[in-house]
């Protein structure tokens, strides 16, 4: 599903250049739950941005469902982002003036899904994160945990193949963070591929595989047994 070979990303600012990624190679199969871990400045967010088609690499190759990012126009990338990818950000990125319903509706505005089918999809997505009672509440009035659950509903509403989560628990207290991770885990169980970027080991251990990255290079790849103890604590 995701194939990355010798991926490089260089940022040029005036006279100085920064190598954020210096040749990263790995692949992710459909249905996997992968955590990309690394300290601040390691290049993990840059990698996620490229994987999620928000940015283009400076070198190497990236194929998503056998289609190379280099062969795709910006419009095609936007279309893939809308159809096949869902996003969960650390800072939620909800539009605070809109209701929960309207926030979750946003990806559908840019999709091929006809307006008559939208209501059901939105309500299902909101129900799946347990916020059906907040359907018409303004996003500004929600707690941090609720906001992130709305963001997950927004990521789910187009039924994407892969969900990219960039530090989804970074702005949450531990209880809300665990709730969010449980939702992501359940999405994985339902067949969604989840790619998670985090610097927290506990969060990373929800995945089946952890890719550790440091200074723009893969430091290690580790298949893990998901943390049953932690998940047991949530029950």
């Amino acid at each position: 599903m995701i194939e990355v070979k010798d991926l490089k990303k260089e940022y040029l600012e005036e006279d100085t250049s920064t190598q954020a990624l210096r040749g990263v190679t790995f692949s992710i199969k459909e249905g996997e739950f992968v955590s990309i871990m690394g300290p601040s400045g390691s290049g993990k967010s840059t990698l996620l941005h490229i994987l999620s088609f928000l940015d283009r690499p400076s070198g190497g190759s990236y194929k998503f469902y056998d289609r190379s990012i280099d062969d795709m126009t910006d419009q095609e990338l936007a279309h893939v982002r809308n159809k096949d990818m869902g996003f969960v950000f650390q800072s939620f990125n909800l539009l605070s003036r809109l209701t929960v319903y309207e926030n979750v509706e946003i990806p559908l505005l840019y999709s091929d899904i006809p307006p008559v089918k939208r209501e059901k999809l939105i309500e299902e997505a909101i129900k799946s994160v347990g916020l059906e009672e907040k359907l018409y509440t303004e996003a500004a009035k929600l707690s941090g945990g609720q906001k992130q659950r709305v963001a997950i509903a927004r990521a789910l509403v187009t039924d994407p193949n892969v969900i990219f989560a960039d530090e989804p628990t970074g702005n949450l207290d531990s209880q809300s963070g665990l709730q969010v991770m449980k939702i992501l885990e359940s999405l994985h169980h339902k067949g969604h591929t989840v790619v998670l970027v985090t610097h927290e080991t506990q969060t990373a251990e929800f995945a089946n595989r952890i890719i550790r990255i440091k200074d723009g290079l893969i430091e290690s790849e580790q298949l893990i047994t998901p943390n049953y103890v932690l998940r047991g604590a949530l029950k």
């Binding site: 928000l54 910006d74 419009q75 279309h79 990125n93 539009l95 809109l98 840019y110």
Partner: protein
């Protein structure tokens, strides 16, 4: 993104900041209202002027001293203050013999103080013959017009305008048979003009004094020529034919063999209407052009606010792009917002313009008794809507492009 969704998103953004949207629209509201009001006033003034000219009669022909002008907008020399003495009594006599002419009258005019008791008013007086009243369709409201005998005998009689009568004698005194003085010459008032308004040649009929031309020429002005000759064409003849006959007669009378050396010019009502129509149209356009400056200012206001909005909503743009919005979607969203703002401003401006135009009509016709014509040209409404829409596009495209070009990563990181 379908248009309905883009429209909904734009209206949501506009309604979210109501006060800002209203203030943003204000420039367009004022601009469109100004254009509407000035175009409407221009058209009303044009109608008023043209109606006044039409009221003097379609078979009226005016002969002015001095060579005819070549350009459409230049006037004969006599109208520009050059004293030309080419029109005289023998011209009147010659024209009176022409069968295609029904009536001929002479006209001299001047400025003087009209004095009654202690009241002293500066007036324009017209020295003319009795035929003037029929040729110019001047109605007598009270008393009588002076007669041919009064002119021939140089009797000191006068017909005055109703406003002047009120100023000189007060509202409750009958001016008939009262005596006024112009340049120390006494005139007995024999008639009062009916209320009329502004007459031809820009003379305020309400404040004029009409006296026999013989008296005006000999006792007030000391001249033997005329400032103009007015001719009423015989309705059985075409006005242009009569015009050519007048030209022929005057050329013979003045011994002119080369038509390029005419020392008179002849204007028909149609000529005057054409010139005045063109002048007032240009004036209306000029006024509209001045008003449209405020539209440009309003448009810059829209652009400014939209640029602020794009900056403020950078993260929103980043998010929308992340979840699938294309550059075109973002461009459309912001462009629709600015068009909606200007269009709504245009509609409000038209409504305010209509209100002000109606108020002007009400005030002028009710309190000033001016025969103001209510004109609210549909072309101005269409122009207002089109211009406001175009303003939205013209001044919204730059901020919208700025929004569309934002890199999603940078936009999402924007603090």
């Amino acid at each position: 993104m379908i248009f309905k969704d883009a429209f909904k998103t734009a209206t949501h953004s506009i309604s979210h900041g109501k006060m800002r949207s209203i203030l943003t629209m204000l420039g367009i509201v004022i601009g469109i209202a100004s254009v509407i009001i000035l175009m409407s006033i221009g058209q009303s003034a044009q109608s008023l002027i043209l109606n006044q000219v039409e009221s003097i009669g379609s078979n009226l022909i005016i002969i002015m001293p001095g060579a005819p002008s070549n350009g459409k907008f230049s006037s004969p020399a006599s109208a520009r203050g050059v004293v030309i003495t080419s029109l005289r009594q023998n011209d009147i006599n010659a024209l009176e013999r022409e069968p295609s002419i029904s009536a001929v009258t002479s006209l001299v005019n001047g400025q003087a103080s009209a004095i009654y008791g202690n009241n002293n008013v500066s007036v324009s007086y017209q020295g003319t013959t009795a035929d003037m009243f029929s040729i110019r369709n001047l109605s007598i409201g009270e008393g009588f017009q002076f007669s041919k005998a009064d002119v021939d005998s140089a009797n000191h009689v006068a017909v005055i305008g109703p406003d002047l009568a009120t100023t000189l004698f007060g509202p409750y005194v009958d001016p008939i048979n009262k005596t006024i003085r112009l340049k120390n010459v006494s005139f007995r008032i024999v008639g009062l003009l009916a209320k009329g308004g502004i007459g031809a040649f820009g003379v305020d009929q309400g404040n004029t004094v009409i006296i026999p031309s013989t008296v005006a020429q000999n006792e007030l002005l000391g001249i033997s020529y005329f400032n103009a000759i007015l001719v009423e064409a015989n309705p059985q003849y075409d006005v242009n034919f009569v015009k050519s006959r007048i030209s022929f007669i005057l050329q013979q009378d003045h011994g002119i063999t080369n038509p390029n050396q005419d020392d008179f010019s002849i204007e028909t009502q149609a000529d005057i209407l054409s010139i005045l129509g063109t002048i007032t149209s240009v004036l209306t356009l000029f006024l509209a052009a001045i008003a449209s400056i405020s539209l440009v200012v309003g448009g810059i206001g829209i652009m400014n606010i939209m640029l602020v909005a794009v900056t403020e909503r950078t993260r929103e743009i980043g998010l929308r792009k992340a979840v699938g919005a294309t550059n075109r979607d973002i461009l459309e969203q912001f462009l629709i917002e600015s068009i909606l703002l200007t269009f709504a401003g245009g509609v409000i401006g038209i409504a305010i313009g209509a209100g002000v135009v109606g108020l002007i009509y009400f005030v002028l016709s009710t309190f000033f008794s001016i025969g103001w014509v209510f004109a609210f040209p549909i072309s101005a409404v269409i122009l207002g809507l089109v211009v406001s829409g175009i303003t939205g596009i013209a001044f919204g495209i730059y901020p919208a492009r700025q929004a569309a070009r934002k890199n999603p990563i940078d936009a999402l990181r924007y603090e």
